[in-house]
């Protein structure tokens, strides 16, 4: 191999190395841009959600009775008594279909689904549900959807239950 050929080869390999480095850098930049773009697309409220959840739970706990608070801290649910019917409801931590209506034996017989408008976090939803059932039960259930248990009419707590919307 002549010295001229060696020089050309060296220059070509140098150029290839530069090109490869530039490509890797470009790809890395594109990945970073895509990631930051995705984060940018996350809503303002989504980023604040953990803080909102904590704030709402603090508010909820301040409005629960000692027994309700104890139940919530033990099992992430608490029970309320409907002001109009005297029915006992179990409000589970959550924002949708999270209210069980209990029978005299404390078994769920149906599930209610209602919540305040506005995409609120769980603590706020549960507090609004508690206030509604304890102070204006009938009108609250008037707007709610009722889900009934299919199959076993008295399922045990924790068993697999299938809740269906009535026709």
């Amino acid at each position: 191999m002549s010295s001229q050929q060696s020089i050309v080869l060296a220059m070509a390999s140098f150029a290839l190395t530069l090109l490869f480095t530039a490509l890797v850098g470009l790809l890395g930049g594109l990945v970073m841009a895509a990631r930051s773009g995705r984060e940018g697309c996350l809503g303002h409220w989504e980023r604040l959600r953990p803080e909102s959840e904590a704030r709402a739970l603090k508010l909820l706990k301040g409005w629960l009775s000692p027994a309700q608070l104890s139940a919530y801290e033990d099992g992430r649910y608490f029970e309320v008594v409907g002001c109009d019917s005297g029915t006992v409801y179990r409000i589970h931590h959550g924002t949708q279909a999270n209210i069980d209506q209990l029978d005299a034996l404390g078994q769920p017989i149906c599930r209610w689904c209602f919540a305040p408008q506005g995409g609120l976090v769980a603590g706020d939803v549960m507090l609004a549900q508690k206030i509604a059932l304890e102070t204006y039960e009938s009108s609250a259930l008037g707007v709610a959807n009722r889900l009934t248990v299919m199959g076993n009419p008295r399922p045990t707590i924790g068993s697999n239950q299938l809740w269906i919307l009535p026709h």
Binding site: A56, L59, W63, Q96, Q117, G118, A128, I131, V143
Partner: protein, 98 residues
């Protein structure tokens, strides 16, 4: 003698301030929202602040919010009209079926 008088005046002023705070506590209106809640405190002894709070109450309830106040441990009642002496009023948005 002058020092004693100054101290007495300061003491009396502190007592008046304390009494005023006891008579006019800082009520708070808590409005549930996507941030958890937003709190609006106002001075119950300040007429303009009370009027602003009343306006907020009327606007919120007019928009479908329910106003509740605590009436005991774990107990609450719904209020339909503004009361400046209420220490804490909670507003939750209109309920809808899920």
């Amino acid at each position: 003698m002058a020092w004693t008088s100054a101290l007495q005046v300061a003491d009396i002023r502190a007592k008046i301030d304390c009494a005023a705070k006891m008579e006019f506590p800082m009520p708070v209106q808590i409005v549930m929202d996507r941030a958890g809640d937003t709190r609006h405190t106002f001075d119950a002894g300040d007429r303009a602040a009370v009027e602003k709070a009343e306006k907020r109450f009327i606007e919120l309830t007019g928009a479908g919010f329910t106003a509740a106040v605590r009436s005991g441990p774990g107990e609450q009642r719904i209020i339909r009209s503004f009361d400046a002496s209420t220490e804490e009023t909670l507003f939750h948005p209109r309920l809808v079926g899920g």
